[in-house]
Symmetry: C2
Subunit: 471 residues, 2 copies
């Protein structure tokens, strides 16, 4: 691919077409990413205010064959937002396109620009008496454009689906600079190929999403939250099955918690109140969101009773107030922060078929034990088959001690995931971190189709080079 | 596109690679379609039994540049299953690949081959205590491969989504003959572009789906069905809003029925029992599927009470038994049959943003009245914004009398849909019938992207030429 660095001529050409303030010097924070694994580089930044400006930017970059890195909230965990080598790119940050353009409560639709912060979109939906169910740890800074580009998951996928399922239509600029006016508010539209679904999850390599029509849901009339101590991951799945039989789609979240995560919380965030005096080996956080007329606390109590009878549950706490609900959620939500403070050797964002989870946990533990002395915090979105399988130094050792083992540990985990028909990137995406991995583990026919699609839509390869597909 | 007719050499080459019985003489029924608008042609048929045989067929066709028409249950309404002109194609019917390969009740997943009849898939799910919610009039003969290729909709989209949302993974053969092993049972897998979503709804123009991992749901503990007489379509939407506020996702179907449909039923199927002595101008069929502990009949009674108070509902029938539920559904489900018996001048499968529906109905009626004397049966999936807007001869006239007006009526309806940001094919797809229409109404940037994708994945253009994109 023959790409060129941003240069003075390129910048001057853009300046002539764009209002003052769109082009900026590159600030260091746009070249960092949360895990500190990648350090980006850039020739110039743009902060467009309109879709037309994005179009001008891409058209110029395409003609000059200048690489372009689309930048959202910067919260991605796989290096998709920073280009670490090659010609100096144009970084386009969407932060000034953050309007909620319209809310249609009767249609359960909200139209937001790509730069809108996820929490602001949630709030706008709430204000209209509706729920935008996408919810994840970084929602206070992540932007919906980035959420869509990475097909974000989070804690409510079990009930509401991934970002792709929450989007009805897109407005996007293709690498040519052409604007696709696809902001459909329709639930049903079978007039051709699913370009929407293709751009979602493409991590900015096929086009830049500038706005989206998002699907809202009714706000459940009543919510209830509990943490059950379970005998094993297998028992947790049995409880999920029981809960589904009783409550249908009423289960909004079903999150696995391991003792290790609670111990990390005690170590690093001792002020945080925990539900059990002694951290249980395995527990699950269950969230219900139910229609009017049903009492979620009573349902949780019934569920617990049945699970206890069956020997699946050993103990439990059911929130009796909104404050207690928040307290239980805080435990779950602070686990990633505790992980960060402890410092992992390597983290994995994997999924396997739901029924294979217990076996995966056993086998992965065995294989890692063969490599050395580690602590494992395995937690996450059990209801989706999605685990964050994070590996930490043994007590008294530092992550630096394991630097040479990182790759080995990761390969052991990913090999096992692959053997068990799982995914090595369940929700975080490929970015630059896993571009090699999908070549290793991905279906070759699909990869060839992906390359053909990339070539077809971005023949000069200007968009986010090196992300998803190796350059 | 330089494509070649099937010839003796092509057939002999395939016979050498395939077991006896795969290649067949073409039977007339594979060249027909339900509306009798298109008459297909073919050089030879294949009834493969394995994915590998499909691969052999496509590889040979790709080398010989022979067009291929994938054939499912033959129930498509837009001519996607018949090639009416050009070189004689190979028709591949999937009917012998009809196994339900596996059911994973705990995972809510079922893996079926493309030729499995939709009703058989529903039954297999039911047997495992689960629901496969895709449901449509032709489910007794439609095949899941065709349902996926057309991204089928039906009566439960409101709650469960279109076919695309009901599919986790695919096995498919690409035009090259390469087999994509993508039968993922994962809820979350962000390892690259959404090839699954792209093949779904591509109407067999990008690949042939051979098997699918389908998403199952819990069976609602209790169901309830009612028909409410409503003051207007606007009142129907108000009731939908009320119902959503009270029952969340518990509403499985919300179907609009017009007086004209009930009158057609009286005319053509007089033995069928109707819920009201005099057919009401507008009514809605409401179906609830609720978790245990709630009584759907009581919920429907409460909803009716509130809707009556507010002046939205005028009368109502709530089914008091399973037999009555079936009776109400039969009314809704027999409307297409009554339509067929009366014989439409032209049918439309359109969607507009939900809140625009009342205005659409008024304006479309006005515009058609200007063209002449017609009867209009406007009914369908109101909850999805999807109406079947079918136009019939006035009393005492025949459809043949209007032959010259068909195009005009259709254009008036489609123009209005387009003005109102709707879709001219909400659920039936493009096929050959609407390939011109999407060129007229479609976003040109999206169309160009679709053409680029088609060229990238099927460079010789062998797959279902003329469907979706004009040849």
């Amino acid at each position: 691919m023959n790409l060129n660095s941003v240069d003075g001529g390129f910048i001057a050409g853009l300046e002539a077409q764009l209002p003052e303030g769109v082009l900026r010097k590159v600030e260091a924070r746009y070249l960092e990413e949360p895990r500190g694994r990648y350090r980006g580089q850039a020739g110039v930044m743009a902060l467009p205010q309109t879709t037309e400006q994005v179009s001008v930017l891409l058209r110029a970059a395409n003609v000059a064959r200048v690489p372009v890195v689309p930048y959202g909230g910067g919260t991605g965990l796989v290096g998709g937002q920073v280009m670490v080598e090659g010609p100096l790119p144009l970084v386009i940050s969407m932060e000034r396109m953050r309007a909620v353009r319209a809310v249609y409560p009767q249609e359960n639709v909200l139209v937001a620009e790509a730069g809108a912060i996820l929490a602001d979109v949630q709030a706008a939906a709430q204000e209209a008496g509706r729920l935008f169910p996408l919810s994840l740890a970084s929602e206070g800074s992540a932007q919906v454009g980035g959420n869509l580009s990475t097909n974000a998951g989070g804690v409510n996928v079990l009930r509401y689906g991934n970002a792709r399922e929450l989007c009805l239509g897109l407005e996007a600029v293709l690498p040519s600079g052409d604007i696709w006016q696809g902001l459909s508010r329709l639930r049903k539209d079978n007039t051709g190929y699913d370009l929407r679904g293709l751009l979602i999850g493409a991590e900015g390599t096929l086009g830049i999403i500038t706005a989206a029509a998002l699907k809202l849901s009714p706000i459940p009339a009543a919510r209830g939250t509990a943490i059950f101590v379970v005998k094993s991951p297998q028992a947790a799945l049995a409880i999920l099955s029981l809960a589904r039989d009783r409550l249908g789609e009423g289960i909004s979240a079903f999150e696995l918690i391991h003792r290790q995560g609670l111990e990390f919380l005690s170590e690093t965030l001792p002020q945080l109140r925990q539900p059990f005096a002694a951290p249980p080996e395995w527990s699950v956080l269950v969230e219900l969101g139910l229609a009017g007329g049903i009492d979620p606390e009573a349902e949780l109590a019934d569920l617990f009773e049945v699970a206890l009878e069956a020997g699946h549950a050993l103990d439990g706490v059911i929130a009796q107030s909104e404050a207690q609900r928040q307290e239980l959620w805080t435990v779950r939500e602070q686990i990633p922060e505790a992980n960060r403070l402890v410092g992992s050797v390597v983290s994995h964002d994997i999924s396997v078929p739901l029924s294979a989870i217990p076996e995966f946990i056993v086998r992965a533990g065995e294989r890692i034990a063969q490599l050395g002395d580690f602590r494992i915090n395995c937690f996450g979105h059990l209801g989706d088959g999605n685990l964050h399988y994070n590996v930490f130094p043994a007590v008294g050792r530092r992550r630096e001690d394991y630097e040479s083992q990182r790759g080995e540990v990761q390969q052991v985990v990913h090999d096992l995931v692959h053997e068990m028909s799982g995914s090595i990137s369940a929700e975080h995406g490929v970015g630059r971190m896993k571009a090699d991995d999908i070549e290793r583990y991905g279906d070759p026919v699909r990869l060839a189709a992906m390359r053909a699609i990339k070539q077809a839509l971005d023949p000069n390869g200007i968009l986010n080079p090196g992300a998803v597909l190796k350059a």
